[in-house]
Amino acid sequence: MKTIPAPHGPDTSAADLKNIDEVSLIDLLEKVEQKHGFIPRDISDEVARLMEVKLERLRRIQGKLDTTIRRDVQQHVNHWRNEEGNLIMILHAIQNQHGYIPREVAMELSRELGVKLARIYEVITFYHYFKLQPPGAHSLTVCNGTACYLKGSGDLINEVRAQLGIAEGQTTPDRQIHFDTVRCIGCCGMAPAMVVDGKTCGHVKTSDLAGHVATLRARKGVAA
C-alpha cells in the first residue's frame, strides 16, 4: 500500500497558518492531484480546515470593519446632524479620512442619514472632487489650468503618460502612483505647475519629470 507523504505535516501547517493563503492552498491541492491522480482524504480535510480558519478570520475582520465603518460614519453624521444640507460636507469628511469614498461607507451613510444610496452616488459622481477608487500611495497631479496649458502642461501630461504608462485619473498597477490632472491650483504665477504628494512645484519642465517620478518611486509607501 502506497503511503502518501503529506507535503506538510499537520504541525507545520499550523505553524504556517498565518502565511498560507487560499491561492497557495489550492496550488497545493492541484500539485497533489497531479502527482497522485487523486486527493487523499486527510489532505483535503486539512485544507478545508485551514480554509475555514482563514474564512473565519476574514469574517471577523469584516465584522470589525463594519463596526469601525459604522462608528466612523456615525461620528461624521453626528457632527453635522443638525445642519441642513450636510451631505456634501459629510462626504468631504469621509474623503479626507479614506482618500476616497468606499462603497461600504457610502452604504452605511445612506442607512444613517436615511438618504437613498442613489442620491448619494448622484452627488459623488457629479462633483469631480469625490473619488470612488482608492488613490495610490503617492500622487502626481498636473495642473491643467489655462495658464499652465499655454505654457506646456499638455507636454507634461504626455510625458507623465509615457513614463508611468497610465492615463490621467488612473493609478499605476503597483498602486504606488496616482496620476491626475486638476483644473487650476491657483499658482498661475509659476505655470506650468504640478503637485507631487501635496507639494507644489512650479516651472516644471518635461525633463524634470523623470526625477520627480524616481523620487516618488523611491519613497516607500503603503498603498491605501
Binding site: M89, T146, A147, C187, M190, G211
Partner: protein, 673 residues
C-alpha cells in the same frame, strides 16, 4: 476672552496699534508656500534665534507679486521699506546680516516700490538700478558699475549703496534708476546722465526734471488694501492696524439698513463675480422680500482656471470679507451667512474658518453683536470641483447638499434662494470692497472708474506675460496698460497676439483692440466678458483654434447635462472643432459653428451654456483666418501646425542640462485619435 464692545472698537479706532520698528513680513499664501515661503520663514526664524536682532518676524498674505514668490517685506530702522522677491532659505542669514546689520540691500532681489516719489525729501542712501530695455542685452551690471565708480570719485561710496533690482515696475524705458528712500525714479538714463544724477540728486538733493518718471502708478489698491499688510490669522492685527470692523460698527450704530444700501447706491458698486449686477439693487431686492429668514452667501467658488484673486483675498485678508458679509447681512436683515469655497483651496478654507472662530470668540459673530441687537452667524460650505456651481442657483443647490444643477430663473435667488428663502449671493471681491465704501463713503469709491463701471477691479494676469501677478486698476484702464505697463509685457519679448478675459465664459481680444478701456460694457461689445477677472496673455505661437478647443473642452466637461443645448450643443461643437483642427473640416463648418453657438446662447438654461460658445465665437470673429487655414490646408497643414507648436514650446524653454536630457528623451507627441 471678553466679547468686544463698541467702546473697544472706538479705542482701536482712536489708537491704532503701532508697527514695531523693525520687522520682516513673510508672505505666506498658497503661491508663496508653493514657492517655498514656509522654508524661508523657518530659515529666518533660525537665523534670528542664532543672532537676535530685536526685529519681529510676522506672517501675512500676498501682496500680489506672484512672479517673485516667495516675497518678504522688510522694515529696518533707518532703511527704506522694501520687498524682497525670489528668496531662498540659504539667503536668510545674509539678509539679516546685510539688511539689519550692515544696512545694505541684497542685489537681484529687491522689488522696487510702486509708490514713486517726485521730490527728494531725504538723503539718498540706496540707489536701485535696472535695465528695462530689450531682453537680449542686459546692461544692469554695467549701470551698477558706472554708478559705483562715479560715487567713488565723489567720495560718496560709503554713504550710498548701488543695488541691482529684481523688478522696478517700469518696463521698456531703458535704464531705470530709483533713489531710495524718497523713491524718486529716473528712466531712460544714458551713460552721461550718471554723473549728473550723482552730482545733482544724490549729492545736491535736486530732482532732475527731464529724467524724472512722473507717471503715477496705474494701480489703485482698494480690494487688496490689506493684502500683504495684515496677518490673516490674527483678529488683533486686523482690529489694531487695519481699521478692522470699524465699518461694521459704523453701520450698526450710526446707519440704518436703508442708509447702508443708499451708500452702496452712491458707490455704484457692481457685482465683481462677472455679470455686474448692481450690488445695492441685489440687497434692496432681497431686503424687500417678506420672510422670516434671509441668507447671504459669499461666492468663493473660483472655478475659472487661471484666476486666483478670490483665493488671494480670502487667504490674505479673511476678516475684511467677513466684515463685508456682516454689513451685507445687516443691510438685508439676514442672520445667517455661508462662505462657499472651493475644496481645492485648503489654505483659504483654513483661514476663513480661523477668522470665523476668532470672530465668534470675541462676540463679533453670534447674538447681540457689539451690544447692538444684531444677530449673525456664518458657516463654511465646501465646493467640490464643479465649475457650474459658480452659477447662483447651482451654488444654492450645492449648499443644500444636492448635485449642483442650475434651475431656471426667475424666481431669482433674491426672491426664492437657499431653502426657499430670499438670498443674496455676492462675490468675494464685492464683499471685500464693502467695508472700504462704508468707511470712506460711496462718493469716494465712485470717483474711480468710468461712467457706467465705477471703482476698481482686480485682475489675475497670467499666461505668456513677464510678471504674472495680481493687478488692481480703476475701471477704464486699457488692456494694453495692464499688460504692458503694469505687468511688463510679453514673456521673452515676443509679440502679443491676444488677451483672453473671463475664462471659459469669456472671449479673446486681439492685439488691435487692446486700447479698449476695461469695463463691463466694452468687454461685452468685444464679445468677451469681465468675468471674475482672469486675464490671460497669449503670444504669436499660440494657436487660437487650440485655445478655443481648450475652453470648449472645459465647458463640455463641466456641463451638468441638465439642458440639451448645453449638453449636446457643446459636444457637437467640440466634434466640429476637433475635426477642423485635424485638417478635416468642411467649408460649411464655420456656418455650422455659428448655428450651434447661436442655439446654445439662446436656449441654454444657465450662464455656463449661454457663455460657453464665447471663446469659439470670439476667436472666430478675430482670428477667422486661422480656422480657414486649417480647413483649406487639410491634414498636412494641421500636422505641420502641431509640429510648429511643439517646436515653439520646446524652444521657449530654457536649455536643460545634458545629464537630465539623456535620462528622458523628448516626449513622443501623442497622435490624437
Amino acid at each position: 476672552m471678553n466679547p468686544l464692545t463698541r467702546q473697544d472698537l472706538a479705542n482701536f479706532a482712536a489708537q491704532p496699534t503701532p508697527d514695531p520698528t523693525e520687522w520682516i513680513r513673510v508672505q505666506l499664501d498658497t503661491g508663496g508656500v508653493a514657492a517655498g515661503a514656509e522654508t524661508v520663514y523657518t530659515a529666518l526664524q533660525q537665523a534670528l534665534a542664532e543672532s537676535p536682532r530685536g526685529c519681529e518676524l510676522l506672517r501675512t498674505g500676498s501682496v500680489g507679486y506672484s512672479f517673485a514668490d516667495p516675497v518678504v517685506e522688510v522694515q529696518a530702522a533707518g532703511m527704506p521699506r522694501v520687498h524682497y522677491g525670489a528668496l531662498t532659505p540659504e539667503l536668510a542669514p545674509t539678509l539679516l546680516a546685510e539688511h539689519f546689520g550692515a544696512h545694505r540691500l541684497l542685489d537681484d532681489h529687491v522689488i522696487a516700490t510702486r509708490r514713486r516719489g517726485l521730490v527728494l525729501d531725504a538723503t539718498v542712501t540706496h540707489v536701485l538700478v535696472g535695465d528695462t530695455g530689450a531682453a537680449d542685452v542686459n546692461k544692469t551690471e554695467f549701470l551698477q558699475f558706472s554708478f559705483r565708480e562715479e560715487l567713488k570719485r565723489r567720495g560718496l561710496a560709503d554713504r550710498v549703496q548701488v543695488v541691482r533690482a529684481l523688478d522696478l515696475g517700469i518696463y521698456d524705458e531703458g535704464a531705470v534708476v530709483q533713489l531710495l528712500p524718497s523713491a524718486v525714479t529716473y528712466t531712460n538714463v544714458l551713460a552721461h546722465d550718471v554723473a549728473r544724477i550723482v552730482t545733482e540728486s544724490i549729492d545736491g538733493g535736486r530732482v532732475i526734471d527731464d529724467l524724472l518718471w512722473k507717471m503715477p502708478d496705474k494701480q489703485v489698491r482698494i480690494v487688496l488694501r490689506h493684502c500683504g499688510e495684515v496677518d490673516p490669522d490674527s483678529l488683533e492685527d486686523y482690529l489694531g492696524r487695519a481699521q478692522g470692523y470699524q465699518a461694521l460698527a459704523k453701520a450698526l450704530f450710526t446707519l440704518t439698513p436703508e442708509q447702508v444700501i443708499a451708500e452702496m447706491k452712491v458707490s455704484a458698486l457692481r457685482g465683481r463675480g462677472g455679470a455686474g449686477f448692481p450690488t445695492w439693487m441685489k440687497w434692496q431686492l432681497t431686503r424687500a422680500q417678506p420672510s422670516t429668514q434671509h441668507y447671504v452667501i459669499c461666492n468663493g467658488d473660483e472655478g475659472d482656471p487661471g484666476a486666483f484673486m478670490d483665493r488671494s483675498v480670502l487667504e490674505s485678508d479673511p476678516h475684511t470679507v467677513l466684515e463685508g458679509m456682516m454689513i451685507a447681512a445687516f443691510a438685508m436683515g439676514a442672520s445667517m451667512g455661508y462662505f462657499y469655497i472651493r475644496a481645492e483651496y485648503p489654505k483659504a478654507v483654513e483661514r476663513i474658518q480661523r477668522a470665523l472662530d476668532q470672530a465668534r470668540e470675541r462676540g463679533l459673530l453670534g447674538r447681540n453683536i457689539l451690544g447692538s441687537g444684531f444677530d449673525f452667524d456664518a458657516k463654511i460650505r465646501l465646493g467640490a470641483g464643479a465649475f457650474v456651481c459658480g452659477e447662483e442657483t447651482a451654488l444654492i443647490a450645492s449648499i443644500e447638499g444636492r448635485r449642483g444643477s442650475p434651475s431656471p430663473r426667475p424666481p431669482y435667488p433674491s426672491v426664492r434662494g437657499l431653502w426657499g428663502m430670499p438670498t443674496a449671493i455676492n462675490n468675494v471681491e464685492t464683499l471685500a470692497i464693502v467695508p472700504a465704501i462704508l468707511l470712506r463713503g460711496g462718493a469716494w469709491y465712485a470717483s474711480h472708474g468710468t461712467e457706467t463701471s465705477r471703482g476698481t477691479k482686480v485682475f489675475a494676469v497670467t499666461g505668456k506675460v513677464r510678471n504674472a501677478q495680481l493687478v488692481e486698476v480703476p475701471m477704464g484702464t486699457t488692456l494694453r496698460e495692464i499688460v504692458f505697463e503694469v505687468c511688463g509685457g510679453v514673456l521673452d519679448g515676443k509679440e502679443i497676439k491676444a488677451v483672453q478675459t473671463g475664462g471659459p465664459s469669456g472671449g479673446v481680444i486681439p492685439n488691435s483692440l487692446l486700447h479698449t478701456p476695461v469695463s463691463y460694457e466694452t468687454l461685452l461689445q468685444l464679445g468677451s466678458i469681465m468675468g471674475s477677472g482672469g486675464m490671460l496673455v497669449m503670444d504669436q505661437s499660440d494657436s487660437m483654434v487650440d485655445v478655443a478647443k481648450f475652453y470648449l473642452r472645459f465647458c463640455v466637461d463641466e456641463s451638468c447635462g441638465k439642458c440639451a443645448p448645453c449638453r449636446i450643443g457643446g459636444y457637437q461643437l467640440q466634434q466640429v472643432l476637433d475635426r477642423i483642427s485635424r485638417g478635416r473640416g468642411a467649408p460649411g463648418d464655420l456656418a455650422l459653428i455659428h448655428r450651434i453657438c447661436h442655439a446654445m446662447q439662446k436656449a441654454s438654461l444657465c450662464g455656463l451654456g449661454q457663455t460657453a460658445p464665447n471663446p469659439v465665437l470670439s476667436t472666430l470673429r478675430y482670428f477667422g483666418e486661422e480656422y480657414q487655414a486649417f480647413i483649406e490646408g487639410g491634414p498636412s497643414y494641421a500636422r505641420k501646425m502641431s509640429r510648429v507648436a511643439s517646436v515653439a514650446t520646446t524652444a521657449a524653454k530654457p536649455p536643460v542640462d545634458p545629464g537630465s536630457a539623456t535620462r528622458s528623451p523628448i516626449p513622443v507627441k501623442e497622435v490624437s485619435p
